[in-house]
Subunit: 448 residues, 3 copies
């Protein structure tokens, strides 16, 4: 993905660090077999591993805690789950594939006929080789998931079902990490860790967030504060908003939900509910330069992932989604086919590039005001202009300077100037540094 | 006209009543021969007949009453008007065709030469078979209208002219009928009854309004109040505004001038002066679904009918025009060719459908606000969500619910949500009822 | 240029005066040989000659006066400048071509080798026949400019250099002329007189301004006040803004920088920083009617001429540029090829037409309010309507009247009405006069 226009994006060339595909793959392989759910040990072990990359602050929210219209559910403990068939062979074993068990199933032990068992089976006739991913968080239920081809070939006979599980008062786990900047304004990267063995629609997100954090920490000049959070989808973001929602209303200038970032498809940007705020403009500015015409831009809609909570009308936070093949838009979504083969670790690393480019655009995107706004400054006096005038004077940096000095009126942010002038953001950022040094402009604080 | 998409329009399928073409035709045939003008007995008899369909409240405004820059003129009494030709035969008899007499003519009796008579004749050389419709309300004048072919064949000789008419202090007649709703916000249907025997540009409007009233009265759930008025064009709407203008400024959310709704042409919408208010959006939403690409949309212009008064800058009311072949846009306009053959009673009934669809869209178009706007509601808890999550859950009503709950922020009306989400208004209206019942949203009163 | 649609432009047909190309050429030929710079006698003599056409008020601003970030430089006196070659022949003589000397050069006398001289020579390898125009206002430097072909053929040997010049405390010269109108709102025409012998990018502008003043003075009905200023580029407009900037902020409704208006290219409009204010709309309205599709419209950018100062963020005045082949857009720019042959005096006179048309549109572009805004006025009562109504009444002036009376709401200016109605501005201006006379509208003062 790094191409000719990357030099126009402030941080992409600047960052000294870039993870390798192998490095990402190694973490992936450790996280893959864990039985995650919205609560429980699978999540904690996932965060332990991610904690090797990022200094995570863990937050445990007790079962029963009210979060707006919702309540934190009990913690799910699942020790074992399988079925023994008429021939005595173990099948649908959760240790073999975490998707076999309906996630958050209640405990059950018993012997059932083929027909009785079938009432608790889930499969996809239209995708006979795939195990579907099924959950039942808010209604007590048990069940197994399997390829439809396997289901139709199950013989008559007695089936012994074992689900050694319980739901106990415990807590919901989420982890955050904050990289402070020079300003109180914050950017949020939110990703979820509640899906079991699914590759694109789950593990790609938490991995991207961890490696992005590491790259960001290596960049010296950071104006904004960057907050990363790993949480269970929906109830996790609700619990997080219950704690930080008011704060975000005052502080958040942008947020992105990281999900489905590992497949080989082109980049996708789903706009925030506001549609055209700085979060959207920065993402589109950077992603268009990286992906060109292949970028897919989606309008906001209230289906999807945690952006539904961040963009609920009571918050209406500037949160969009940067993905590749977004949830629901690919056939393998929420099935066992969304696996290691479906994704590419090179793609995932390039997704980290894309996020970094977007954050670089955001970080550069301040608003400035001329200290003496009447007339142009005499650039030569400030060491910013060639002293000889003639027909051949042409200087790209002079163009950037003039646009900045003309539109530094406290109303245009740097992205607005870049859009109006067609001067690259990086050139404007350079001009900004020179003009700040010369005392010609000052930054306008938009968030106190 | 009723087609596949009508189910997306709240009231069209819901109304238990629909008049037949024959029923409309019977009323048309009784109204046709009456000699209407801006004042007088022809108007009153017209309203008497319409009063069989609608409980009319009659308002008589005395001659001489000042209405802004205008004054209610004297009442016109015309007992007879004709010419006796050189051969003793009666011609240009107002009893044969009301258009023969220049409307509002002063009294005259006398014997004239062919040439003297000709100074008082009006015909259309370019439409030699048509009698033109000519009026002289504000300058005392008498005259006769006739086909140009007849005029050129009038022989030399003596012509006896009889116009047994007078202008007396009396009153201007208008009638209204109000269907109250649950809210003070009102919708106005305005139509005129001052033209004599003209079919599309006159009788189609008053008939549509009467049958629309009857249909509307049969609908149980009406949120808004619907006001219908039958009045003489221009001076009538001015007199009405003199009485209700201030009230309308506070109460009126939409109004439509009903005129030229009986011909076989496609539907036309002429925007209000504001151009894109709720009145315009509701009309366009419904009419586009009914008429598809055949809909003609006209920008506001200050010529036309009573919308000129409603949309004068001192009022600027949200009043548009829903028509078929609008005034001036068809050749037969304001001539004797605008007659029973020119219109179709089936078309007229379908125009009533169109008005009903527009009013249904308006009535649904409230603005709502989430009672607890932070995060999504837990739909399952409110009986609004399937308890099992998996790859196959797809539910159109869920899409409508989510959009409503996301955009119910007190700023988006239901049409705005329909436009942004592309969810049909009827589905959003269903979602609204379910969410109101669950206490998740509340209506925002825009007019107190 | 005067074409079929000129009658739609208020002043173009109305003005009794139009200069001839020969008249302009005579002034051009007198101004051409003067050695202008940002200060000095060349400028004063230029203004003396222009003063024959316009009653100029001269303003002298002392050297050392602070103007925002700038300081008025010393006055440049240049008595002589030339080089004597190895063969004793005088070359690069400023009396032969004012461009030979680097403008504002410091004094120098000395004998140099070919190589030493070359360090002070400026030429254009890519245009070997052209003398470049080079200035060094803010760094002390001397030099000569010459065709590159000549430079490469200079023989080895001794060159005697004479620059009899000095920089003294003096003043910077600018001249203004004001044509008062009925209202305090002002329009500015700004042009510069600091370039030596250059035709399109300099003399065309000052000449246009002078002849435009003369035409404007001959028009009786002028609503606005017109202010013309001739000044040195950049430092002149800064000095002028230091004096009038605050005043302009309150008074200026439009301004245009007149430059590059004499060549044979099509008309160009460069928008003001605001982009779509009345100044831009009036210019585009008139210029589109004059130039049709050949009009080039440029977005504002902070390079160019004095609009950079007028449009600096502290002022943000509504100042655009009306030109033909604008600065930098033609190859001859800032070289000796921008000479009498490059321009056409017929073109220049047509540029005066264009400016006059724009000012006529601006002058007509007032905002009106109905004195009694409810309902339409009864036009007949005010002598504005035919008394007989019928199918054949069609009157273009009636259309203009109705639009004016509908949109005279204190918010639409006449250009906005023209754009919305597609009624020509001149017809609306006529309707305005009739309605003002009838007391139906009143002007809304936008500037007190």
């Amino acid at each position: 993905m790094p191409n000719a226009r990357n030099s126009e994006l402030p941080w992409l060339a600047e960052c000294p660090l870039r993870e390798t595909a192998d490095e990402v793959a190694a973490y992936f392989d450790r996280l893959w077999p864990l039985l995650r759910s919205i609560t429980g040990e699978g999540v904690r072990r996932t965060h332990d591993i991610l904690g090797e990359l990022v200094p995570l602050e863990r937050i445990e929210i007790p079962s029963g805690t009210r979060c707006f219209d919702w309540t934190v559910p009990k913690e799910w403990i699942c020790r074992d789950a399988y079925v023994i068939g008429p021939d005595g062979r173990r099948l649908l074993d959760v240790r073999q594939n975490t998707l076999h068990l309906v996630n958050y199933s209640i405990a059950f032990r018993g012997v059932l006929s083929r027909a009785e068992l079938d009432e608790h089976l889930y499969s996809l006739p239209e995708m006979p080789e795939a195990i579907p991913y099924v959950t039942s968080y808010y209604a007590p239920r048990w069940g197994f998931c399997l390829p439809h081809a396997m289901r139709t070939s199950l013989p008559e006979g007695r089936y012994e079902v074992v689900i050694d599980a319980e739901h106990v008062d415990g807590s919901l786990t989420l982890s955050q990490a904050v990289l402070p900047g020079k300003e109180p304004a914050e950017v949020l990267i939110s990703t979820y860790t509640c899906h079991p063995s699914l590759a694109n629609n789950e593990l790609s997100g938490p991995l991207l967030a961890a490696f992005l954090y590491r790259r960001l920490a290596a960049i010296e000049r950071r104006r904004l504060t960057y907050r990363f959070v790993w949480l269970p989808e929906t109830i996790g973001s609700l619990a997080y908003l219950a704690r930080y929602g008011e704060y975000f209303r005052r502080r958040l200038v942008a947020g992105y939900v990281a999900s489905c970032v590992g497949d080989r498809g082109p980049l996708t940007y789903k706009r925030s509910r506001r549609g055209d705020g700085a979060a959207d403009r920065a993402a589109l500015y950077a992603l268009r330069r990286l992906a060109g015409d292949s970028l897919r831009v989606l309008e906001f809609e209230p289906s999807g992932s945690d952006e539904r909570q961040y963009c609920s009308p009571g918050f209406d936070l500037p949160v969009g989604v940067i993905a590749r093949s977004i949830y629901g838009a690919y056939r393998e979504y929420h099935t066992s086919l969304d696996n290691r083969n479906f994704i590419s670790f090179d793609s995932l690393v390039e997704s980290v590039d894309a996020y970094l480019a977007v954050l670089g655009a955001l970080d550069a995107n301040a608003t400035y005001r001329r200290t003496a706004p009447c007339g142009e400054p005499q650039l030569g006096r400030h060491g910013l202009y060639p002293s000889l005038g003639g027909p051949t004077v042409r200087d790209e940096s002079l163009v950037a300077l003039r646009w900045l000095l003309n539109l530094a009126d406290g109303e245009h942010d740097l992205l607005a100037i870049a859009e109006r002038s067609r001067v690259p953001l990086s050139a404007l950022a350079d001009a900004t540094r020179r003009c700040l040094a010369a005392g010609l402009i000052e930054r306008v604080a938009l968030i106190e």
